[in-house]
């Protein structure tokens, strides 16, 4: 058998691109239903305290209002907190909307107004009067950090810091060169373009179809079953398109709970869409105060790494992410001590946001490494090469499936022109502007999750590949189409991918950059099974030219199976399928990570990011004029969508370095800039030239198809690279992102 990869590895346009730009792709709030009701959420004005009274009389009297739900009349839902948990919930008590009069965070939903149309519901919602007994909220981590604690229960999937290695305190104390600084990154909200929304379609007989804004329909499915006591067959969840997630769509959010609650109670279809300001009332990237201490020999070799983080979480859940563990594995060092603690605030629980943990931790580590480069007088790239390690992961003592980070440094530096850098801060200028070149390393886990997929070849010679996973804009539809097409020798247009539907084979959430590896492998093996089956059919055809040939000697090409040495002997897939009993050839397969492999190996993606900034020093204006990111991520399935993922990650990283910040008023315990005019993400003008390099990184262990994943690596390290470039330009070290004009002028 010859496996030809015509499509995998090339640049292919998004198969869903046209549907998206023409509006044919529909999102959770766009699905129609007969007699659809609209729910509008009323949000709490206070962050902590109790509701003493809700007056909804005026609202209820508005013609067209069907029902108003508050904690006083909420229909019964599951009793136990554990029923409200979900696939990625941190330990604690999941938030339960309308549970009681208690307010735990600003913007907490306190009522749902359901009406025949959106305008009526919106108007009625504005008439609801809520009286509170407010208590002073605590939302200032600088004050609460004194009450930090080690999370008593670990969050599933998140490793606590490894045990100390060697004696880091002593090594640090005795190190000839030392850097010790505190770093922080402002709270960020995900702000995907599509706001969170759910349309619940009442199907009669207690069954519902749920269109949810979620990065994985199976999570919503299980949640609904747990909370509302419905059996699996009564609920179907769909999420074929997701207008951006960045992690905000991993956990079921309160609009889902409220819409299902109302639909089941009223036995009607209900839609609830959150407003942009309500998008600031749930998960966010947490604030963490991090301290990094690096001890090194004069030649730059690291002798001690200490990295401590105190991170906010809510009163009700212990959200955890991996911020500090990277410092124990990225560079060779015998003495490490890593600490990670939480402190409680009166906000909603933080949530995974693109490369959770790594964005914060790598910013701190890589900014500190830059400081060490200046302290030792060693070039930042050279410093990292001197501390390079690729024989194992020091945290776990496991081997790495592959690590081509060295090539990232070398190729990235070459493309960027790093050798022309004058190391002295403030040494490079262009006209009035100071020019700065900075770099940083990025790292992210390469994971695989158990995922099932189905491949169906029909008598018209078309292939459908299907799995429940989501495409949150990453290009999943496209890569699965490529894999399917190559496996059966078809063209892109002969293959349809179906996603985001609980009626399809089971898949986990789309997150952690594991989808390409996991769903890709599942589709690959399902297609291989189909290939064998269709080949058998082809061989059995009357007078088949393949009769005496075995699978190893045929090639699937252009919709035909042909003898590799003699292409004139061939059978069309369509003819083969027609001879099957059901008129189709179908296979469902499950891909699982190899346990044995996982005991011995760990897999990571890496990157080296190089950034040029130009700074008007006097006015504190920073322009990021150039970025080169060299990425090692195993096999690249689609050069175009892969590049887009890195571009998006870099843009978001520039945002975290210069723009993004959710500003809290601690008196109100409320994020105040809750709209996209005042919450700044980079505009087009903020982005200069971006050059993405994928270095060659063969890997046969990270996943069976050699893929490591790309959704997150682009953002990691970018913030540090920008900050480091600003230091190089100006000689000013701002350790508190985003670096806004005021901070740069004050520094």
């Amino acid at each position: 058998m010859t496996t030809r990869q015509n499509l995998v590895g090339t640049a292919q346009r998004r198969v869903d691109g046209r549907a998206k730009v023409t509006g044919a792709a529909r999102y959770a709030a766009e699905f129609a239903a007969t007699d659809l009701l609209h729910g509008v959420v009323v949000s709490s004005a206070i962050a902590r305290g109790k509701i003493t009274r809700i007056d909804s009389k005026a609202a209820a009297a508005v013609p067209g209002v069907v029902k108003i739900y508050t904690h006083e009349n909420r229909p019964r839902t599951a009793w136990l907190d554990s029923s409200y948990s979900d696939e990625v919930a941190p330990p604690g008590h999941p938030f339960r909307a309308l549970r009681s009069a208690e307010i735990m965070f600003s913007g907490q939903p306190v009522a749902l107004v359901v009406a025949g149309d959106f305008e009526t519901a919106t108007y009625a919602a504005s008439l609801i009067e809520v009286a509170y007994a407010a208590e002073a909220p605590q939302t200032d981590l600088d004050r609460q950090r004194s009450e930090s604690y080690v999370p008593p229960k670990k969050r599933s999937g998140i490793e606590p810091p490894p045990k100390p290695r060697g004696d880091a305190d002593r090594a640090f104390a005795g190190a000839p060169v030392r850097v010790q600084q505190e770093y922080r990154v402002a709270v960020e909200h995900h702000n995907p373009m599509e706001p969170h929304a759910t349309t619940v379609v009442w199907e009669g007989g207690g069954a519902i179809t749920v269109h949810d804004k979620i990065q994985g329909v199976t999570n919503t499915h299980a949640y609904i079953q747990g909370v509302f006591g419905l059996s699996a067959d009564k609920v179907r969840v769909l999420s074929p398109f997701v207008g951006g997630g960045f992690g905000s769509g991993l956990r079921p959010q309160y609009q889902l709970f409220l819409s299902v609650l109302a639909a089941l109670d009223l036995e009607r279809s209900v839609r609830v869409v959150l407003t942009r300001d309500q998008m600031f009332t749930f998960g966010h990237r947490p604030l963490a105060i991090q301290t990094v201490s690096l001890g090194a020999e004069a030649d730059g070799r690291l002798t001690a790494i200490l990295h401590d983080s105190v991170q906010e979480t809510s009163r009700f859940e212990d959200y955890q992410e991996n911020q500090v563990n990277w410092s124990g594995m990225l560079y060779r060092c015998d003495n490490t001590k890593l600490g990670y603690e939480l402190a409680k605030l009166d906000t909603y629980t933080p949530a995974d946001m693109r490369a959770p943990g790594a964005v914060l931790g790598l910013y701190a580590l890589e900014a500190a490494m830059d400081e060490l480069a200046y302290a030792t007088g060693i070039d930042p790239v050279e410093l990292r090469l001197r501390n390079y390690i690729d024989d194992r992961d020091q945290n776990t003592n496991k081997r790495l499936t592959s690590k081509a980070l060295r090539d990232c440094y070398i190729q990235g530096a070459e493309r960027f022109g790093w050798s022309r850098r004058d190391a002295r801060p403030r040494s490079m200028t262009e006209g009035r502007e100071l020019v700065g070149w900075g770099m940083a390393t990025g790292v992210w886990e390469a994971m695989m999750q158990k995922t099932s997929a189905r491949a169906t070849l029909t008598a018209d010679g078309r292939l459908e590949v299907a799995t429940a996973t989501a495409d949150i804009g990453t290009g999943t539809y496209t890569i699965l189409t490529q894999i399917g097409a190559d496996a059966l020798g078809l063209r892109m247009e002969d293959v349809t991918a179906r996603l985001g539907d609980t009626s399809l084979p089971h898949a986990p959430l789309e997150g952690g950059s594991w989808t390409a590896a996991s769903a890709g492998t599942a589709v690959q093996i399902a297609c291989e099974t189909v290939r064998e089956a269709v080949f058998k059919l082809a061989r059995r055809l009357d007078g088949s030219p393949l009769a005496n040939v075995d699978l190893d000697h045929v090639t699937f090409r252009d919709g035909r199976i042909e003898v590799t040495n003699d292409p004139s002997r061939s059978v069309s897939l369509a003819d083969a399928v027609k001879s099957s009993k059901g008129g189709k050839v179908e296979a469902e397969e499950t891909a699982s990570p190899s346990m044995i492999q996982q005991m011995r190996y760990v897999a990571y993606t890496h990157s080296a990011v190089f950034v040029e900034v130009k700074v008007d020093e006097e006015l504190g204006v920073v322009r990021v004029t150039r970025v080169v990111s060299a990425v090692a991520a195993g096999k690249i399935l689609n050069l175009k969508t892969a590049r887009s993922q890195i571009l998006g990650g870099i843009v978001m990283g520039i945002g975290s370095a210069l723009h993004e910040e959710s500003v809290l008023d601690h008196d109100f315990g409320r994020f105040m800039n809750h709209n996209l005019a005042e919450y700044h993400v980079p505009a087009n003008a903020d982005i200069g030239a971006i050059d993405v390099i994928f270095v060659d990184e063969p890997d046969d262990k990270a996943s069976p198809i050699g893929v490591k994943g790309l959704g997150e690596i682009g953002i990691v390290g970018t913030g540090a690279a920008v900050a480091n470039a600003i230091y190089h330009a100006t000689g000013k070290r701002v350790r508190d992102l985003p670096i806004t004009i005021d901070k740069l002028l004050d520094a």
Partner: protein, 338 residues
């Protein structure tokens, strides 16, 4: 959002009548601000009077060589008008420094003058705000005030006026032509927007029953020495932290006339005519520019988070004066600061 009636005004008189008969009626032009305010329940008009069909969408020559800009001329049309670009490039530049192409297409001249502050608390009905609810307090003073005013504030309000276009109009000495039930009147631009004082709920001196029909800019000759320099939290599509409009006449290296207005620092576009006079007759150089900046900012007061604006404004004034004097106005396309 509340329920409201919608009517379309057929004439200016009609519009004035509709407004005068209902104190809770509001005009809608481009809608880019009023609709947001309604969605946030900050404005709850009983009636929206659509004025977009009124014949106020033209830019006309004035007998003095100036221009009469109809209240419904879009920000985009105004910025790209050839006469404006040639004769009032400062105005064109300031408009193009603001908002986005889409917003400028929708936004009107009159609406731009009357857009309301971007103070976070003002937009958020969960919090008190003297401007939104007189007497409820001003949480910005001790709260999140990084974007707030440093000049002309009061203990009741420290909000800024967010417009870029208005900063240029203030510098150019425009007048606002309005009509009300009692007839027409003309308001000098400097008198149009107010300082907050004890009544921050009142943004302007426009009466509730008046409509803006045009903004008139008198003839002048600042085509050579001008600039609009805007500093903000990203390179485009953000309101000004500080902006500076400068128009100069320079003769043999000395300034003969100067107009300077600041945005992002006060409840109105900030002009200090005494400071402008300081420049006249002096060589256009750093010493004079510094003196002007110091004069303008002498009364500035910073709060917990916005003190940086004082230093930033000082540098911005000096840089803007340098740009204008050199005849190298700030480009609104190339984000490098000249």
């Amino acid at each position: 959002m509340n329920r409201f009636d919608y009517i379309r005004a057929e004439s200016v008189a009609d519009a004035v009548k509709a407004k005068a008969s209902d104190s809770q009626a509001r005009f809608i032009a481009g809608g880019t601000n009023i609709l947001d305010l309604m969605k946030y329940d900050v404005e709850r008009p009983t009636r929206l009077v659509d004025i977009t069909r009124l014949p106020l969408a033209e830019i006309a020559e004035r007998p003095d060589g100036g221009l009469r800009i109809g209240a419904l001329v879009s920000n985009a049309k105004l910025a790209y008008d050839e006469r404006v670009r040639q004769r009032f490039p400062l105005l064109s530049s300031a408009i193009l420094a603001g908002a986005s192409a889409q917003l400028r297409n929708a936004a009107s001249t009159g609406g731009n003058l009357l857009q309301r502050t971007r103070c976070y608390y003002f937009y958020d009905t969960a919090t008190p705000c003297n401007k939104r609810e007189p007497g409820s307090g001003c949480p910005a003073i001790a709260g999140v005030n990084r974007i707030h005013a440093i000049l002309g504030t009061s203990e009741h309000c420290i909000a800024t006026h967010p417009s870029d276009m208005c900063v240029a109009l203030a510098a150019l000495g425009a007048t606002v032509e309005v009509e009300g039930p009692g007839g027409a009147r003309s308001i000098a631009f400097g008198d149009f927007h107010r300082l907050p004082g004890a009544t921050p709920e009142v943004d302007t001196t426009l009466r509730a029953d008046e409509i803006i029909v045009s903004v008139d800019v008198p003839a002048q000759d600042y085509g050579q020495h001008y600039t609009y320099l805007k500093l903000r939290d990203r390179l485009s599509y953000a309101f000004a932290l500080v902006s500076v409009a400068v128009a100069l006449k320079v003769d043999g290296g000395a300034v003969t006339e100067a107009r300077i207005a600041l945005g992002g620092v006060a409840h109105k576009p900030w002009r200090d005519e005494a400071a402008e006079r300081l420049l006249v007759g002096r060589p256009a150089g750093l010493d004079a520019f510094k003196a002007v900046a110091d004069h303008i900012l002498a009364p500035a007061v910073g709060r917990s988070q916005n003190t940086f604006k004082i230093g930033l404004a000082r540098k911005a004034i000096i840089r803007a004066l340098s740009q204008a004097a050199a005849g190298t106005p700030q480009s609104q396309v190339d984000k490098r600061i000249q």
